[in-house]
Amino acid sequence: MSRYIIRRLLEAIPLLLLVSIAVFSLLQLVPGGPMGVYGRNPNLTQEGLENLQAKLGLDQPLHIQYLRWLEKALQGDFGHSYDTRRPALVEIGDRLPATLLLMTFTFVIVLLISIPAGVLSALKQYSAFDMVVTGLSFAGQALPVFWVGLVMMLIFYAWLKNPVTGKGLLPAAGMYTLGQPFSLVDRIKHLILPSATLGLAWVSWYSRYLRSSMLDVIHQDYVRTARAKGLRERVVIFKHALKNAAIPLVTVIAMDLRTFFSGSLFTEQIFSWPGMGRLFYRAAERRDYPVLMAVVMMTAVIIILSNLLADIVYAYLDPRIRYE
């Protein structure tokens, strides 16, 4: 297994290099550029613009810009944001904790809901419970995230009011209420709407995946054998069936782990959550290449590592799986 892990990590190096070239090239192909935000500025002279471009290295040929970026990136320096002039890593460091908090909170709730929902849905196939869960899953997958977020805000902030304070039942924006001492309750209240918005699609996907794979597994011979041996139903389901049914779900979860870093653009924008999604959106809007490159490259690393983690978890779940 160790050799497998090392080999996967070494294979990641040329892959990341290719990703960096592809992303850098694609960014250059996008219309506009970093100086576009200054276009309407009546006070930026031509001389000022040229000085700015020179200082930011934008007057160099593209391959020189890329090589300079690569040289610094290999030393852990992803350059300075064109927008704020601060190091790209500092910009990321400022937003990452907020994204980690939101994603972790959401993820935990999602697992706590989707796993039981998927299992029970499979066990009680075509029952009323199954129909309701299935229906909600389809709705959750079909409804756009931004629409769900806005409707949530409309209902729980604009329409429903806190009978004591007269303000919205749940907060519409931010991580906590300004000007008040720390309160865990306040923090959780601010998490509810963005988490619910984000989690709805996840719960839908995960419960459907699990239901589907459980239905395959519970009719397998080994499950029938386990029942025949007199094991309790709970043991049959959770120890024998779920472990195997979880393998496809592990794949999906592994692919979603990158959101712990990259955040969710729509949800963070709607609820003004100060996370990575908003950073990425702002950087894309302003063609802030250093920040974009840093976010994309780090996301690529996360994806590679999470795939590797998925493979390791597979081996744990299914002892038949061996890696050379």
């Binding site: 970093p34 576009g36 935000v37 276009g39 009546p42 930011l56 601060r86 400022d94 796993i115 100060p274």
Partner: protein, 620 residues
Amino acid sequence: MKRLILVANVLVVASMLLSACATPTPEVIEKVITKEVEKIVTQVVKETVKETVIVEGTPKVVEKEVTKIVEKVVTPTPAEGPKGGGEIVMADMETNTMNPYIASEAIARGVIALVNRGLVGIAPDGKWFPAMAAEVPTIENGGITDDGKTITWKLRPGLKWSDGTPLTSDDVKFTWEAVSHPESTATQTQGFYLIEDVETPDELTAVVHYKEFYVAWVTQFALGLLPKSAGEPAGMGEWEWNRTSNPTNGPFILTEWVASDHMIFERNPYWWEEGKPYLDKIYYPIIAELETQRQMLLAGENDAHHWLSKDYIQMMLDAGMTVKYSSSPYWKRIQFKLSEFGDDRPSPPAKPHVILGDPKVREALTYAFNREEICYDYLEPIFPLSMFFKGDFNCEDELKALKPHEYNPERSMALLEETGWKDEDGDGVRECHGCMYAEEGTPMRMAIGGFSGWGQEDNQAVMVENLKAVGVDSYIQNVEATVLYGTYGEGSPARRGEFDILYWDYELGADPHSKAEDFYATWRIPNAENPGGFNCTRISDPQIDEWMKIAGSTPDVATRHEAYCNIAKKITTEIYSELSLGMGMSSNASSQRLKGWEANETYMPFSVYGWDAENWYIEE
């Protein structure tokens, strides 16, 4: 399964812990705010003293007036009465920096105005008033030399930065040094490269020497002042000061900034006006969405909202909010490309635009557009006839007499017939039959370029209908705003001449010259060798160039007025390169309890919503 449950439990606990301690570390700008009972105020008084002057070896005793600086102890008057104290919430978007000479967006300038002020400010009526300066320099008060190349700024005595250190003329000089430094990454550089030197004969006097007359000199230090302690000019882009604004000279100081989440501003005890600012604190939640900001205002969780669109004004008034207006700074217009599509040169040497190259066609189209209809969504729109309609350079009366820009589709069609554009096949679209430049049978079809979003397409749709009514086929072809307004090198279709008709807007600023030059001077036609400028229509008229030089070389208002009006007349009634559309009112809203604010966005970037923050107060 047990392990899964264990993992889930660990994750729950971890998330609870994260919620307690995963808050992004705020950049807490530590400021020791000591409210002094006694503080020393420096005042300038005049005293007559006797001095011995030695002349040619013969001692003479003469009396003369000598200015002396006297220190006296004053007990500061704390903010008291109904106007004193309190906190407000002002939800808005995020600024990228607190450095007024790096910030470029309107939102950044509004936030910066809370903490940093320049030598002068501009009021809603367009009049400049002294801010950190004791007075606005004029020829009469000796602040401007006759040739206009030397401006003497006098600071108010007793100014201090928020850390208690004196604000002196050295800081004015430093501001110039930093902004004009080629490596500073400054974006508000207008005029700074024209400064030869800044002398500081004393702590209250900064004498600015220009290499040549700079017509917009009054705006030079209007955006703010930079403290010498901020750092080296070359490193201005990376100053920690850009994030902390510590020290600063505005009515408030920034005490906390959590990236993308919130900012907190507190009263600056060293603000120069006694008893102000009235507010103790401003909480500034960073809210990306305008709709959320509006909802927060209606819910009582926000005290101020600006850029209130027309559709929401009545809702706010019905909810008891205060709504105030100022003229929008954005001047909308329709422009016609004079030379061939995609050719960045003027014509000649480029070929004329096959349709718009004929000035009579352009004139015809100016009669086709219904300005009131196109600007249907503007709040109380005004329809200036050219960009020269503000203050001392108002040319509206001269232009009105010439009756340009009247909506007259019949006249439009008649002119198009005369120019050889006729619909002979009856499909509703004219073709060339003896027109000036296009091949016989070429349909009269053009693209209307602009930027996407902000309701632009709705206005452009009306333009398409207006043109259709006179037999011209058109379609909308928009790009992102940052692309349209971007640089030549980044492929801006406007700068590269890749358009037929352009529908867009521009901030005019307080003085018209730089924009007039950008829009109409031959030397401001953007191309690969000279990518600056916004003369996107490619006007190249020697007479206009001459008037432009006259207007830019003298401080005399009457001379400039005449030159600008000549330019306006020629463009409006001979060249027909553009149709001035309109500008609406910009509206801002506040809760009922927030008083003392005035809307002031007409002269952006110099007038922004935080311009009078020291006057804001709470009245419950």
